[in-house]
Amino acid sequence: MNAFLPLVRTNYRDFVRDRTALFWTIAFPVLFIGIFGIVLGRGDDGASYEVGLVMEDTSPQAAALGEVLSQFEALELTRGDRESEIASLADGDRRAVIVVPSGFGASISDGAPQPLQVHFDPSQQTTQQVVIPVLLRAFEVADRALTQTQPMVTADFQTLQSERLQVIDFIMPGLIAMSVMNGGVFGAIAMVSLRERRVLRRLSATPLPAWALVGADVTFRMVVVLLQTVLLVVLAVIIGGVAVRVENLPALAGVTVLGGLAFVAIGFFLGAFAKTEQGFFPIAQVITFPMLFLSGIFFPLDSMPDWIRPVVSAMPLTYLGDAMRQLMVGGAPVHSMALNLGVLAAFLVVFFGLAVRLFKYE
């Protein structure tokens, strides 16, 4: 059929000359990835936290403690007097302030050690989660140095992944799955618009077979979804610092197309219920919006209550997100890959069948 390529070209022209479509398929996901990448981006591994050290004791023990603390790369020590350091903490210039009280060294020699005073702002989450554990570890090391003992129990933590996954690694594949969903479902708007404008009816008066029309549309849609995914993966690496598994990229492309086809089929199905372009938007929103929040894109599935599990299991984005996460960053599987692919294929077949049955030229 020599109308196939001209139809794909028509779709391309219609798409690139439509600023709104360009925004939603390219600029919007790029913005999303950009914002998440900057906010949640993989922290610099050499990151250090400003901590104030107030020495009110001049004993050798106190000096040794200061020496140990200063060797911790994660801590950027500033020495000062109590008043100015507490003031800096209040201003947010310090994560914590350690006060070594006077008589600290003497109390150790007496066998009744005085505790250090640690000031911090509990409303700062990273302080609680990151700085305090670092300090505890530092005190432990200092303790051993002062008492000259060897640790008995040590541990070497091995993670499942070559590199420990951070929030950004969890979010990025989900965002890419989200944009595949939007590209597929909202891509069906082109067909709704053609019907609304009676172009489909005009085409039905030509010998153009329906498969060529639909095939060209779906082909173009898949090219867009693939390019979108490539762009977003690259951005996830550059902006978010996500460690993408390069060897899985061909499989990721395959999953993108399978997921894209499933969502295009869902879009076509929904398109059968919309008379106009304007009418299609709310229908598509109602379907896609809950999936954003319940498919494990932003929140892990195991953080959700049990009663919502059946809903989650019925959402195709759950399976696409899981498959992409496994392939892209080696995320822990929620479902087996076979189940993910099987469910997506089932959505594709069922909804494409329904869409064909419900399809109207007018």
């Binding site: 001209p6 139809l7 028509t10 022209r13 404008r197 009676r198 009816r201 039905s204 008066a205 010998p207």
Partner: protein
């Protein structure tokens, strides 16, 4: 052998009998018009002939095929122009013509068609930028992109200014000159009179008259018409009683009197008006038209 044969065609939408027993033939090389007001059943009839709608009953043969069952084989052979198609708004004129051309094995040259429809200046314009008349000309161009033997034009001059309409008429006469058969719906009687070899006058899903425009007029009117506006006092009965009057119609204050002897009728009309003190404005004498035929047959005007 006729290009189109229609026998007792019927089509209903729910309770509405849109086409109610229509029969006619169209011969090769003819420009065949379907004239009638909106809702008369013209478009439904034509869309059944185009293979876009399925009839309830009746026999239809177009180019020897049944459009309802012949599918793509049939669609290759005919050209179609539909009402109210808003083509891809972001495509350019020549791009749309090439796209439609790609659906057919046999296709006309895009630039030739653009020239034929007088769209040279708009070749690279986007569809959204075209005026109503230009978009209409493009849709006629698309109807002949496959060089069909038979072309259906559904109200092709809608939205055109008078000059563009005259140009379109020249183009359609060019189609006929090249041997194409044209089926045309319209509610402009002037268009039907100028273009059509034969006209089927439709109303309420039926053909109420079918002949050449001249024969239709002659069958209804041997006479010429006096037209005038009178705001006051003159009734159809008054006018029908004037000398040599064969019939009279009134639409509000606008009156038409058909007369077999214009001077005698005119004399008695002036006497009557003087007697009643009734004003006579915009008086003119003209030949009867298809519009008069339609009014006489249905009691309504084409644009009701």
């Amino acid at each position: 052998m006729p290009v189109i044969e229609v026998r007792d065609l019927r089509k209903a939408y729910g309770d509405l009998q849109a086409v109610d027993g229509v029969s006619f033939d169209v011969s090769e090389g003819e420009v065949f018009g379907m004239l009638g007001p909106n809702g008369a059943g013209k478009t439904t009839t034509v869309e059944i002939l185009e293979g876009l709608r399925i009839r309830d009953s009746g026999d239809v043969r177009v180019l020897g095929l049944d459009p309802a069952t012949s599918g793509r084989e049939f669609k290759r052979l005919v050209g179609v122009q539909l009402q109210q198609v808003a083509l891809y708004p972001r495509l350019r004129v020549h791009e749309v013509i090439s796209l439609f051309g790609s659906f057919y094995e046999q296709q006309a040259d895009a630039d030739e068609l653009i020239a034929l429809m007088g769209l040279q200046d708009r070749r690279n314009a986007r569809i959204a930028e075209l005026s109503g008349g230009q978009a209409q000309r493009l849709s006629v161009a698309l109807a002949v992109v496959n060089r069909p033997r038979l072309v259906f034009l559904d109200e092709p001059s809608t939205g055109m200014d008078p000059q563009a309409r005259r140009n379109l008429w020249d183009t359609i006469e060019g189609f006929r000159a090249s041997g194409m058969t044209v089926v045309l719906t319209t509610h402009y009687m002037e268009e039907a009179e100028r273009l059509c070899d034969r006209v089927a006058v439709m109303d309420h899903g039926r053909i109420i008259a079918l002949d050449s425009p001249r024969a239709l007029v002659r069958a209804s009117f041997d006479e010429d018409a006096i037209e005038f506006v009178s705001s006051d006092g003159l009734t159809v009965d008054d006018l029908s009683g004037l000398a040599a009057v064969t019939s009279a119609t009134s639409q509000g204050s606008a009156h038409s009197i058909f007369s077999s002897d214009i001077p005698r009728t005119m004399g008695s009309l002036l006497d009557l008006a003087a007697e009643r003190g009734a004003p006579l404005e915009g008086m003119r004498v003209r030949h009867a038209t298809l519009e008069d035929v339609f009014l006489k047959l249905t009691g309504r005007t084409l644009r009701d």
